[in-house]
């Protein structure tokens, strides 16, 4: 087991390096760089000292050095926790990310949990009571859910919140807790607000998962070992859950890692942009639009880390849960 984890971690690190390198290249792609924009901006504001400060900026951000060196510097700093400095806000990226990272992870986790809480019972019901009225309703709903990505729903929710209910925004905290230090009350406030965006993010994933669960379970219910279990005198409920669902879960765990998680990361980013949540999504888009290189690069790397970690965890969980996989 241990060499397996070690190998995956090593592989993940290589992935990260590659990804960060590619991100760096991509961020640099737009012609000109941040500085040319900034100068134009400063000049527009009438700041005449702009041109003299250019060299200062260049030196500060190392933009005068060749590309590989820039990357090298950034990468080595990154490992030490220095993610570079944001051009836009002129503060260290790390400072700006701050709590947003934690909230992004919490948001993703909440979405994940909700997805499963919705999908598994519905999927099982749909398969066990195939073609019943409930099944047809669930199937229809899941189709609709598949077609309604989170950010579209977020727009609609925003509409309701603003126009119909008269609020001015949908966020993760109430006003008083927004910048407050952590406390139990703040956590409770977060939870009260979190479920709406998490639900939005969970819908598409849950819809897909319901269908997959239903398909898998239907196939498994026709397997001989299910009939054999019933022939031993077990209750239907026991047969369904202890034997059938237990087998159906395995491929779902794989899907969880490989598809569900990246989808959640992205979907949540979009929802966060629409609803203006204090997570990494809105920062990322802003950084892209303003060519804030280090910021965008850092966030991208964090997204990828989340995904890779998720994959790793899913693989480990699969090995734990499925004895057929254990001997590698």
């Amino acid at each position: 087991m241990l060499p397996f984890i070690a190998r995956r971690l090593g592989y993940g690190v290589i992935m990260l390096v590659l990804v960060s390198f590619v991100s760096f290249i991509i961020i640099q792609l737009p012609p000109g760089d941040f500085l040319t924009q900034k100068i134009a901006e400063l000049q527009a504001r009438g700041d005449r000292s702009a041109e003299t400060r250019v060299d200062e900026y260049r030196a500060r951000y190392g933009l005068d050095k060749p590309f590989l060196t820039q990357y090298g510097i950034w990468a080595s700093n990154f490992v030490r926790g220095d993610f570079g400095e944001s051009f836009e806000y002129e503060r260290p990226v790390r400072e700006l990310l701050g709590q947003r990272m934690l909230l992004t992870v919490i948001f993703a986790l909440a979405t994940l949990i909700l997805t499963w809480l919705i999908a598994i019972p519905l999927g099982v019901y749909s398969a066990v009571k195939q073609y019943s009225v409930g099944d047809q309703i669930i199937t229809t709903l899941s189709f609709i859910g598949l077609g309604t990505p989170g950010f579209l729903l977020a727009l609609v929710v925003l509409y309701f919140a603003v126009v119909v209910m008269g609020q001015d925004a949908v966020g993760l905290f109430s006003r008083e807790f927004k910048d407050a230090p952590w406390s139990l009350a703040r956590v409770w406030d977060l939870l009260k607000h979190l479920w709406v965006p998490a639900l939005l993010g969970a819908i598409t994933g849950a819809a897909a998962l319901v269908r997959i669960m239903r398909g898998n379970l239907l196939e498994i219910l026709g397997q001989p070992y299910v009939e054999a279990a019933r022939a031993r005198g077990l209750k239907n409920r026991t047969v369904n859950w202890r034997h059938a669902v237990r087998m159906a879960i395995n491929p779902l765990i794989v899907i969880l890692g490989s598809e569900a998680l990246p989808g959640i990361v992205i979907g949540n980013a979009l929802i966060a942009i629409v609803l203006n949540l204090p997570t990494m999504g809105p920062l990322y888009i802003n950084a892209l639009l303003t060519q804030d290189m280090y910021m965008a690069g850092t966030v991208l790397v964090f997204f990828v880390i989340m995904v890779l970690l998720g994959n790793l965890l899913a693989d480990i969980m699969l090995a734990v849960v499925d004895p057929r996989i254990r001997l590698e």
Binding site: P224, Y225, A231, K235, P323
Partner: protein, 420 residues
Amino acid sequence: MASPNSKSEVEANKPVIPKTKKPKAKRERVPNDLSKNPVLLEVDDIQIQFAVRDGIVRAVDKMSFVVRRGQTVGIIGESGCGKSVTSRAIMNMIPKPGKIAGGKILFHMPEADGSVTQVNLVELEPDGNEIRKIRGARIAMIFQEPMSSLTPVYSAGFHIGEAIKLHKGRVKRRTIGNEMIENIQDAKGLEEDEAREVAIGMLRKVGLPKPEQRVDAYPHHLSGGQRQRVMIAIALSCYPDLLIADEPTTALDVSIEAQILELMQELKRDTGMAIIFITHNLGVVAEMADEIVVMYLGKEVEKVNTIELFEQPQHPYTQALLNSIPRIGKKVDKLATIEGMVPDPFNLPSGCVFHPRCAHMMPGKCDVVVPEYAEIMPKHWTRCLLHDVSWPDNAEAQALKNKDGSIPNRLPSLEEAHHA
């Protein structure tokens, strides 16, 4: 139309039971007289139907047989003749869209105190408490595919433990001898390590080497033969009164098959349980069964004890089956087959459903009159117009038969094929 065969021809045409591995102890093939044993299971006029889009398919049409304690009844027939469905009916586990449309299945449950409780299995609520107490504990079943009859994520020991803990107390019943336990279902469940010990014991009993290690093995660690042994161990762990074996060795190599069959015989001797053995393999059923029921298209066509079936088959279908076994020592140009194919259930032949494939078909009769199922010889049942019962005006039939009333073993293809 036919002359009675000469004695030598009858001799030569006698079906030979293919040799199977003989057990070490010398065993004589005498008919077991089990007729004194108390009745264990009575299948009475059972009818099973499947409602499909194009109509209703009668998968089993009025089947009746009796299983006594300690007896092995074999059910043979081609694929799709309804034998598996019958076994599911006994456990009340017929898959949708099938259902039992008529008849009774009386289970005479022996109780701890020596009394017998009669239960009509058909009337029990499917998947209800009553039937689940019987399934696994009183009537157990082993299946055709050992590869996939065990849940892949649970070990062998887990499966056995699950069965034991579910039917708690039952195991104690036997180990304590005849001592009564009033409410068997309320007896204390076994502890984890107790259950494991019992599991190891069962695995040892079914001949699995190193049972202490195998008890934790997962199905994908075991070979086909080993998996089937585990299945048997699970089935027997609660000491059932009746074991239903649905083609248990069809998926196994011949050598493994022989071992498994021998194991089943041994266990049967030890526990006194009855077996219903379903197969399409005549050699196997000859080895295992005391009495045989032959099925075709959902109907019984012949029922009699094993030896008489092989020596004096009375139904042309049975004869054809026996003739299609290749015989050692006899040179033929082509192997005998049964002409034609199993008909489409929605396009059945008129009269006797077997008549298009029958070597003894009598035009004008067999395609018009439906033969009745009757006991034409003592304890020998069949349904064929060649026998008096269903067709009064049968001079023609009389002419066809041998002096002793049996029907001659004639198949045109065999006649052509045989060298003198």
